[in-house]
Symmetry: C2
Subunit: 214 residues, 2 copies
DNA sequence: ACCTGTGAAATCGTTCACAGCA
DNA sequence: TGCTGTGAACGATTTCACAGGT
């Protein structure tokens, strides 16, 4: 085990390993080797061993990893044994679609409240989640115990919304606005920029013929 | 200029530069230096010059880059001067939310058709886009000139849907199902895995106190 | 015989530093 | 003087290859 900085690339892969272990557990497998795991997605087995070695020595030489044991370890490492409450700012199409995104529930995240500036929307309910006035964000976030915020507003408001979120003491933010945001070091900000992904497809199609692959 | 392989990290940054150039052009700036661009997002100016140098010598020593010229060059390189027609498979919350996602229109992408397996949905219209039977995908895709597919179905169907898409001759695919998919080399597959992003936030909150940042 | 854990090598990406042109 | 384009240094990540445990 090494307690140095762990790269996000590594933790992202842990998510993938965990999913696979959940499947293996459901299928009744008792053990699995890194080679075996590597073949499922096409990864290198050394990478899997290295990723896991960041957190401890979970394997047994000559045998592999015990599926159930590793599953529990990864669940704990990723914090998936804790419940989180999510507030989504922006009750447009995207915000409401996310409200009942199955991935949230699956991952122990619960959408507790939506926020918008539109008078028409405030007070209404979407998928059992109430839409509040964005000006009451800090108050509601505190009252509801919200610890994760999702930014689903147009790009031009995103930075201001982020600042409001940070001011309310929330430390984990997911941003869907297609613009890079600036935040302090202690905030975990994850931007999902669909426009960049689209333009990446566009680039591929423009130069077409040449290689693709993820 | 070097015609070697260009990394996706580079083309992703081109998207960001282009956005910025569009703003600069709107503000009436005539020229901009790499140093100046670098300060807007906090990047290194050498990286910007290197990224651009992959595609040609666009700058002028002592001056910088001509905003309008570079804007047009990048638009062309990213293929944003071409129109694309999108088919979305899965007319659930996510699929329909994407249907009128503003980023599509902005980027010269047009959602031409939705596809679903649910009899109730087939034949109805969402935001002026018709929902077709997924079994007719190849036929409709061909008739409508669809060249980009979006997978917005549950994870367990995603691989099969991808194979159907590839079989119909489409080369660019965006996948929202939280599972890594396998595709041939000549297909450009971009997976946007919200579950991994969520688990990344969860990991951060679990080990909290320690550093965040994008 | 099999499989992990890990140094060492290879690859990929970023940043530095400066030559060279306007 | 100001700024680009780029080789060289640096840093991060991946892969190789094998020692060592069961």
């Amino acid at each position: 085990m090494k307690s140095e900085k762990i790269s996000e690339l590594t933790t992202n892969r842990l998510s993938i390993y965990l999913r696979c272990l959940n499947e293996l557990a459901a299928e009744g497998s008792k053990t699995v080797s890194s080679d075996n795991l590597a073949k499922r997605f096409h990864l290198n087995s050394a990478q899997i061993r290295k990723d896991l070695a960041c957190f401890g020595e979970f394997g047994v030489r000559g045998v592999g990893y015990y599926v159930e044991d590793l599953r529990q370890q990864l669940t704990k490492i990723l914090g998936l044994d804790h419940h989180h409450r999510v507030g989504i700012i922006g009750a447009g199409r995207l915000g409401t679609a996310l409200t009942d995104y199955y991935g949230f529930r699956q991952t122990n995240f619960e959408v507790a409240a939506l926020f918008d500036a539109d008078r028409e929307k405030i007070g209404t309910v979407v998928s059992d989640v109430k839409i509040y006035d964005v000006r009451d964000f800090a108050k509601i976030a505190d009252r509801q115990g919200i610890d994760v915020a999702v930014i689903a507003v147009p790009a031009e408001y995103a930075q201001r919304v982020l600042e409001m979120i940070v001011a309310s003491g929330i430390k984990a933010v997911m941003n869907f606005a297609p613009t890079p945001l600036l935040a302090d070091e202690e905030i975990k900000l994850k931007t999902i920029d669909l426009t960049i992904s689209l333009e990446s497809l566009s680039y591929f199609l423009a130069g077409s013929g040449k290689n693709g692959k993820e």
